[in-house]
């Protein structure tokens, strides 16, 4: 069973040791996904699997046969950027840009979690509808580090894309 990556079926690597991150970058030359710490501490390698954000550095590619992977390269439609990509530009959500693909994929996964009602560490009521305040976004995005310190612009960019019914 192939892995579906940005809409295309791809045969899994023969060596079971290959991480999903190295498979994307080295074998498929999808270099948008970045290798930061390679140990699950920085979030730079975040991709979407069946719509959920995961760390591709800690994932073995062989585990993803039959599943759908979306990377930063799979977000734009032709020349039209994904709304979050445009929002990151508009709000200076980066400086060097190295963490940006992971930040954007993470924010997309985060939005899906919030939409289905997943609470966070800072949610006072575990059963209430999610309201994506700045504090909530900071907590929900805490797995993605930005060493340039663009976090305020990142949160501004994400806030702009929050649907009205989920805004504070």
């Amino acid at each position: 069973m192939p892995i579906i990556i940005n809409g295309s079926p791809v045969a899994r690597p023969l060596d079971a040791r290959v991480s999903l991150l190295d498979f994307l970058r080295e074998d498929l030359h999808l270099a948008g996904t970045k290798k930061g710490c390679n140990q699950g501490a920085c979030g730079a390698c975040t991709v979407l699997v069946d719509g959920e954000r995961i760390l591709s550095c800690l994932a073995l590619a062989v585990q993803f046969e039959g599943r759908t992977v979306v990377t930063i390269e799979g977000l734009a439609e032709g020349d039209v950027l994904h709304p979050l990509q445009q929002a990151f530009i508009d709000h200076d959500g980066f400086q060097c840009g190295y963490c940006t693909p992971g930040q954007i994929c993470s924010a997309i996964g985060m939005a899906a979690e919030a939409k289905r009602g997943v609470p966070s560490h800072v949610s006072t009521d575990l059963s209430a509808d999610v309201r994506l305040t700045r504090e909530e976004l900071q907590e929900r995005m805490s797995g993605n580090l930005c060493r340039c310190g663009a976090h305020n612009g990142i949160i501004d960019a994400i806030l702009e894309t929050v649907p009205a019914e989920m805004a504070a």
Binding site: Q39, G43, E52, R53, L60, L126
Partner: protein, 328 residues
Amino acid sequence: MTPFDYARAGDTAEALRLGQGPAAAYLGGGTNLVDLMRETIARADTLVDVTGLSSAIEETEEGGLMIGGAVRNTALAEHRAVRSRYPLLSRAILAGASAQIRNMATVGGNLLQRTRCTYFYDTDGSRCNKRVPGSGCDAIDGFNRIHAILGASAACVATHPSDMCVALAALDAIVHVQGREGARSIAFAELHRLPGDRPEIDTILKPGELITAVELPPLAPSARSTYRKVRDRASYAFALVSVAAVLDVADGQIKDARIALGGVAHKPWRASKAEARLRGGPATEQAFREAAMAELADAKPLSENGFKTELVTRTLVAVLGDLAGAAS
């Protein structure tokens, strides 16, 4: 990483068959095992992927929940019944790791992540009895601010990093396992072990045994529960100390108290001495403080982590105060 064979198990029987080799390991989300294998701290010749096994969360006849071993951490934290009936478990999970890691990590894998410290990872520069048995421990006289104050040994002072497990310890969860000699059930407090002179062994599981489910007994409807974690950063950091507590108070008297501590020991630390002091007594701040002090009477801080005894005391007093207030 040393080479290994990969096999995906379709059911428990197949997983057990594939997992019987002496150097086989079960693979969940991989968030700990893959990292350790990359550092060659962990080695396996076969990885048996068990993420396709039970990911169900089902009601039990007793009024509790049966959680499949392959349930992802996020799925457990967001489950409606867990949020409403076991809020301490949702809160513990949400306090741990990052959202990406919670999406990957399984329940079984969370239980079986290694008890560890930074010296355990420092393959080039440090001695570690857990990594290389008998080699020595550089943490005991080193930078030991984050290390254990209870139940440690001269061989190892590392702490168990799971938040979820602290809540499961307070809940009297039951761990269901299967192995070549059949199925057995383990009280959660018995699953993990203290280091003693064998710190390389974290649990009482036998080779080839697989965690198939974790069972939550029902809580009294009048009981209140929560989880509080204290750490160096606001998010995405291991606990310095944490408290999971269930408190059942009626007319100012404590009917039941169940408490577990994180960040203080080689395993999630069930605070039985504190519980014994509290049961049947008044729900007052003084009683909470005396219970904490009873639990910490045997604490043995290292050179840099003496602050943990006071931090545990204050956190426990605050948590129990909140729960008692919510119940009145």
